[in-house]
Structures are given as structure tokens and as C-alpha cells.
């Protein structure tokens, strides 16, 4: 009898302890930890995380507002934003209409910087020669329809290059990633076959190829396998000295990915004044636009019952759009937002 009661008490205590931890407190992020000023929490995309860390650090020094950011991935960022466990989210792929409907439209996408995806390959016979591709050709390679490097369609775009007869080894990301979203978004736009068979998402059902974990996994795979082709973030390609292929854009020009050609893509995508910024700028018009570019977004609430928090976030967004902050982006190889986009965002966040 004594024993049974004891067990019951223990079990109740345990279940209380476990049950209590299941739902994170919704306002955990807003409690000022030290009283030195407000604290914001955000979570999401890993791709802009190095820049965000730098921004938040500089912002804390200037204003005393501390922002804790967890780079848990875009999917996690959107999920936590919907559940209201963070003050703001961050994502490389915009929220879907269904997700926005789930929170009754109470979200504003704020472009923070620009990202791009670079196509890189390894053909030892060619050394560092940069190859040319167009969208349809790239899609057919990643669909497994073109299997050899000396295929007529590759040769037609690369006159004068002695292409080897090797098999093409396709390398893609195995982890879900914004990079994959941007790349598959582009392929879906330029190739009806890709759109039908694979589509766009942070992870897709790849028809062929090997999966590498992270940008570094894809890079190693490409570096080690002669005859391979893969895609990595532009920043990663620049800082590691990888050859980046030139892609034919919508205007018909062959463009190499650089911070300038990425910014041109954002400028080329003319945004209407009432935009919600959920625009894809892959395959953008304009002769200088690099076609596999994209915004990365902050997710903030349109209407926030906590006006103090809303004010703090708006202040940060305004700061982030200042030339000084955008220059920090360029230092880290992120393409800064073009001026018209900054103007649009400014108008949007004026209360």
C-alpha cells in the first residue's frame, strides 16, 4: 500500500515535469534577460546566418538591443514563426499561401540580402575553363537525359572546347536547403519537363546523382570526382575559388555569377508598389542578370499586439536597410539589395 502510493506520487511528479516542458512559453523571447534593453529572438535560414550574426552584433553595440538568432534552417524558421515561439523568422524560400492562411495572413516578408547559386564542374582535361550552359541544357543534365560531356548540345554552347567523352556525374545537396530551392525554382521555370517531373522545393526527388551534405559536401564530391557537376552557394564558390559556369539568361547573354550580376537580377525584377516581396527572381529579365538568384527574407508580423516588440523589430529593419549595414553584406560576399527594393521596403514598414 505504502509502495503503491509512493510509485503513484513519483509518476505524477514525473509526468508533471515532462508535461510542463512540452510547450515553450510564447513570450520567452521578449523577457529582457538583464534589464539592459530589449531582447529579440529569431530563427531560420542558415545561408544568411553569418551576415545576420555580424549585423546583430553590430546592432547590439550601437543600440543595446540584443537579438538572438538560431540558424536552424528555413523550414524550422517558418515553423517556429507560425507557432509564435520566435519574434521573427528567416527563410530562403517564401512561405506558401497555405502557411500564410494558417496564421490569417499576419506575416510580412522583408528581403534582407540576395543569394545566388553557382554551377560548378570538374573536368581535369579542361583545367579551370569555365563552361557555358543554358537552362534547358542544365535541366536535362540534372534529369539524366544528357549523360556524356561530349554531347552535341553541350558542345554547341561551348565552341572550341575539347569536351571529353566521360560520363556526367551529377552531384546535388542531400540535406534540405534554400540553395536547392533556388536551383530547382530556376530549373522549373526554364524546363517544362523538370517542372512536371521534379518541381521546386528545399528537397526534391532527384532523378539521378549523388547527394552531398551541405555546400562543403557537394564541393568535396565535385572536387574528387572527375566528370562531375554540382551546384553550391555563390559565396561558397567565391571563397573557395571554384570555377562557376556562365549561364544564358533570359535576355540571351551568358552571365557569370558575381555580386553585380546578382544585384542586377534583383533590379531587373520590377516589383509592383503593392508587392508582398514573395517574388522569385530566378530567370530574371535584363542583359546583366544572373538567372539563379534569389532574395532571402525576414518574416515579421504585420500586426503585433505587443507594440513595443513590433517597434523594436521595425527599428532593426530600418537599420538593416541603411548603406552602412548593406556594405557589411558586400564585405561577406552577399549581394546588397538594389536601391529601388530598399525604397519599397522602407515604404512598407512606415507605420
Amino acid at each position: 500500500m505504502v509502495y503503491t502510493t509512493r510509485y503513484l506520487v513519483c509518476l505524477t511528479l514525473l509526468s508533471l515535469a515532462c508535461g510542463g516542458e512540452r510547450t515553450p512559453s510564447p513570450d520567452a523571447g521578449r523577457v529582457p534577460a538583464t534589464g539592459r534593453g530589449p531582447v529579440l529572438t529569431g530563427a531560420g535560414a542558415t545561408f544568411p546566418a553569418p551576415l545576420y550574426t555580424k549585423w546583430f552584433d553590430a546592432y547590439a553595440k550601437e543600440t543595446g538591443v540584443r537579438i538572438n538568432y538560431q540558424s536552424i534552417g528555413s523550414g524550422g524558421g517558418i515553423r517556429q514563426f507560425i507557432e509564435g515561439t520566435v519574434d521573427f523568422g528567416a527563410t530562403d524560400g517564401p512561405m506558401t499561401d497555405a502557411q500564410i492562411a494558417a496564421i490569417k495572413g499576419n506575416v510580412q516578408h522583408i528581403p534582407a540580402v540576395l543569394g545566388a547559386v553557382s554551377v560548378t564542374s570538374n573536368l581535369p582535361a579542361l583545367g579551370k575553363t569555365e563552361l557555358n550552359f543554358d537552362g534547358g541544357l542544365l535541366a536535362d543534365i540534372f534529369l539524366g537525359r544528357i549523360t556524356r560531356w561530349n554531347d552535341g548540345r553541350i558542345a554547341a554552347l561551348n565552341p572550341g572546347v575539347a569536351l571529353p567523352g566521360e560520363d556526367i556525374i551529377v552531384v546535388h545537396r542531400s540535406d534540405g536547403s534554400g540553395t536547392t530551392f533556388i536551383f530547382t525554382d530556376y530549373l522549373s521555370k526554364v524546363s517544362p519537363a523538370w517542372n512536371r517531373q521534379v518541381g521546386r522545393a528545399t528537397s526534391v526527388n532527384w532523378p539521378i546523382g549523388l547527394g552531398g551534405k551541405g555546400n562543403e559536401g557537394v564541393t568535396q564530391q565535385v572536387k574528387q570526382s572527375p566528370g562531375s557537376i554540382g551546384y553550391v552557394e555563390l559565396i561558397y564558390a567565391i571563397s573557395n575559388g571554384l570555377p562557376s559556369a556562365k549561364l544564358r539568361n533570359r535576355a540571351g547573354a551568358l552571365v557569370q555569377p558575381t555580386l553585380k550580376s546578382v544585384a542586377a537580377a534583383a533590379a531587373g525584377a520590377k516589383l509592383p508598389p503593392d508587392t508582398d516581396f514573395r517574388v522569385s527572381i530566378t530567370d530574371a529579365p535584363g542583359p546583366d542578370s544572373y538567372p539563379v538568384s534569389s532574395f532571402t527574407w525576414l518574416l515579421i508580423r504585420k500586426e503585433d499586439p505587443d507594440t513595443a516588440r513590433a517597434g523594436t523589430i521595425y527599428d532593426f529593419v530600418a537599420w538593416m536597410l541603411e548603406p552602412a549595414a548593406q556594405r557589411m553584406a558586400a564585405d561577406l560576399h552577399y549581394a546588397p539589395l538594389p536601391v529601388p527594393v530598399i525604397e519599397l521596403v522602407r515604404r512598407k514598414i512606415v507605420r
Binding site: 542531400s174 534540405g176 526534391v204 559536401g217
Partner: protein, 328 residues
């Protein structure tokens, strides 16, 4: 209890009862230990419940088809985990095929044949191997092992054993076999150190008896030592298998991450743990997340089934006395 002691003859009452009742410290201590002991099964129950709860959406949509189909398409929201289950079992099995003979060989050498001065240092270094984080194994695999395998070992295997479907097809580097080899390296320290302990526990009288009957060292090991230790050795292997089934990081870096069941060991594959680690953070759709939770639930089931099977095996083998069987 008190009432029964009064009516029963005084000799029946256990002599410690009054002592136990008097000592409050012991009772508190016992209560604390009971809580600690109960915490583990309770945690396990919650874990299973959470996994099942998270997987409900996918279970409702796909049911048992999830286990038997092979398409994994987050865009079309069609999910089938057969290649993942196959990959987990195949890579672990491959690891054991490579690791078991090697590690038992080392364990036997260290306990039966090695000079005294060698035994301790070698055992120490084997222990160190177990302390290396798996991501380091993964990096080493990418930078050292894969280039070696792709340029030397795999072409040799294809030339020598190419008549088997296991060793045919194009060689990429990352593959089921690469993952199996890295897993083998990772589980070897476990099998070696536990196997060594088990062999050390075999009484010397066993060896002496065999040698006294005129057996060679080899015969003494195979007829007297190994049979005596067999259940403990199976336990060591199961420990290694458990580690191989759940290993994530090193495997995902080396297996090629392809949702496909291929006959060739040179072809890329995928495992359950790797798929969860890869896709969880960026899974946006509810069904995608739920499918990953379903995979986690299946991985849990697979480990439970494998471990239960192993217990059964040890129990059957251990009938008759054997060193280490009581510990496992």
C-alpha cells in the same frame, strides 16, 4: 505485514525488518533511486508516444505502404521508406561482416598470444578509437578513405570479383560499401574491447585443461576459450550493431544519399538516420515532417527488434554456463 508478524511464529519474521523500519535515511535513499529507475522507462514511453504522435499524419496517409514503397518525393508529397530501411540494415550488416573477424582476431591476439608488454598499450589505443567523434570519421572518410577506395580498392574489387552483381557498375566513391567500411572502423573498438574483456573473464583452468590434453594454442582457443565466451562475444557484436544502426553523421557523409535500392555495393544508398538528419531542418510541409517522424519511429522499431532478437540469441546460446552471459 505487522499484523502477520504478531500471529506467525517469531522465527518467520526477517531479522532485518526492525532495522529497515528504523532507518529513515535508507527509505529516502530508496525512494530517490526508485524515481531515478522509473525515469528511464517513463522517458522511453514518452519518446515512443511523441514519435508516434508526430508520425500520425503519415501513418494515416500511407499506412504500411510506407514500408514497402520506394518513392521519396517531397514536392508531390509521396513518401516511401523502403530504400532507407534497406540502407540501414545493409550498411550495418556490411560493417559487421568486415568488423567482426578483425575485432575478434585482435581480441584473441591480445588475450591469448600477445606479449605482456604489448597488451595494455594496444588495448588503450583501441579505446581511444572509440572516443573519436563521428563527424571526424566522416571528414577522414571524405578526404582520405574515399579517394583511396575510388582509385585503388574499388577498381581492384571490380576486376577480381566483377562476376558478382555486388561488384558491378560505375564507381563514384561514395557508396554503400564506403559507408559499410567507415561503420566497420567505427564499431571495431566496441567489439574489440568488450570481446577482450569477455575473453579475459574465461578462467585459466579452461586453457590449462585444453593444453594439458595436448592441444595446440589454436585448438585451445577454438575448443576451450571461444565456446566458453560465445554468449559474451555475441553481446559484443550486438553492441557494435546497435552503434552501426544508429550512426548518422559519418554515414551521410559517405553513403551518397540516394533513395534507391541497388544490387551493387558501389552504388550510393541512404539510411534512415541520415535521411532524418538531412531533411528535418528544412522540411516545411506537415506531411514531409510527419514522414520523417514515421522514419524515426521505424528506426526505433528496427533497433528494438534487432536487440530483442539478439537477447533471444544470447539466451539460447547461453544455456549451459558461459562467461559474461550474466552481464548481458
Amino acid at each position: 505485514m505487522t499484523a502477520s508478524t504478531e500471529t506467525a511464529p517469531p522465527t518467520v519474521a526477517p531479522p532485518t525488518t526492525s532495522l529497515e523500519r528504523a532507518n529513515h535515511g535508507d527509505r529516502v535513499f530508496k525512494a530517490l533511486l526508485t524515481v531515478a529507475a522509473l525515469a528511464v522507462p517513463t522517458l522511453l514511453a514518452f519518446l515512443v508516444f511523441e514519435l508516434w504522435d508526430g508520425a500520425r499524419l503519415a501513418i494515416a496517409r500511407f499506412g504500411f505502404d510506407f514500408v514497402t514503397t520506394s518513392v521519396w518525393d517531397p514536392v508531390a508529397e509521396k513518401f516511401g521508406a523502403l530504400p532507407l530501411i534497406f540502407g540501414t540494415l545493409a550498411s550495418s550488416l556490411l560493417a559487421l561482416v568486415i568488423a567482426v573477424p578483425l575485432s575478434l582476431g585482435v581480441a584473441i591476439y591480445l588475450t591469448e598470444f600477445a606479449p605482456k608488454a604489448v597488451r595494455q598499450p594496444v588495448a588503450f589505443f583501441i579505446g581511444l578509437l572509440a572516443a573519436i567523434p563521428s563527424v571526424v570519421y566522416g571528414l577522414w572518410g571524405i578526404f582520405v578513405l574515399i579517394p583511396l577506395l575510388r582509385t585503388t580498392v574499388f577498381p581492384f574489387l571490380r576486376d577480381a570479383l566483377g562476376f558478382l552483381p555486388l561488384f558491378q557498375g560505375p564507381i563514384y566513391g561514395p557508396s554503400m560499401l564506403s559507408a559499410g567500411i567507415i561503420l566497420a572502423i567505427m564499431v571495431m573498438p566496441y567489439i574489440m574491447s568488450v570481446g577482450r574483456e569477455v575473453l579475459l573473464a574465461v578462467p585459466n583452468t579452461q586453457r590449462e585443461a585444453a593444453l594439458a590434453l595436448g592441444a595446440t594454442r589454436w585448438e585451445a582457443v577454438t575448443t576451450a576459450v571461444l565456446p566458453y565466451a560465445r554468449s559474451g562475444i555475441i553481446g559484443a557484436i550486438i553492441l557494435g550493431l546497435g552503434r552501426a544502426l544508429g550512426e548518422t553523421m559519418a554515414v551521410t557523409m559517405l553513403i551518397g544519399n540516394r533513395h534507391e535500392i541497388a544490387a551493387s555495393l558501389f552504388a550510393p544508398g541512404y539510411t534512415m538516420a541520415a535521411a532524418i538528419a538531412n531533411e528535418f531542418s528544412e522540411a516545411v510541409g506537415d506531411l514531409h515532417l510527419s514522414a520523417l517522424a514515421y522514419v524515426a519511429f521505424l528506426l526505433f522499431l528496427v533497433t528494438v527488434v534487432v536487440n530483442a532478437g539478439a537477447r533471444l540469441l544470447i539466451w539460447r546460446v547461453a544455456r549451459g554456463s558461459a562467461a559474461g552471459s550474466s552481464a548481458l
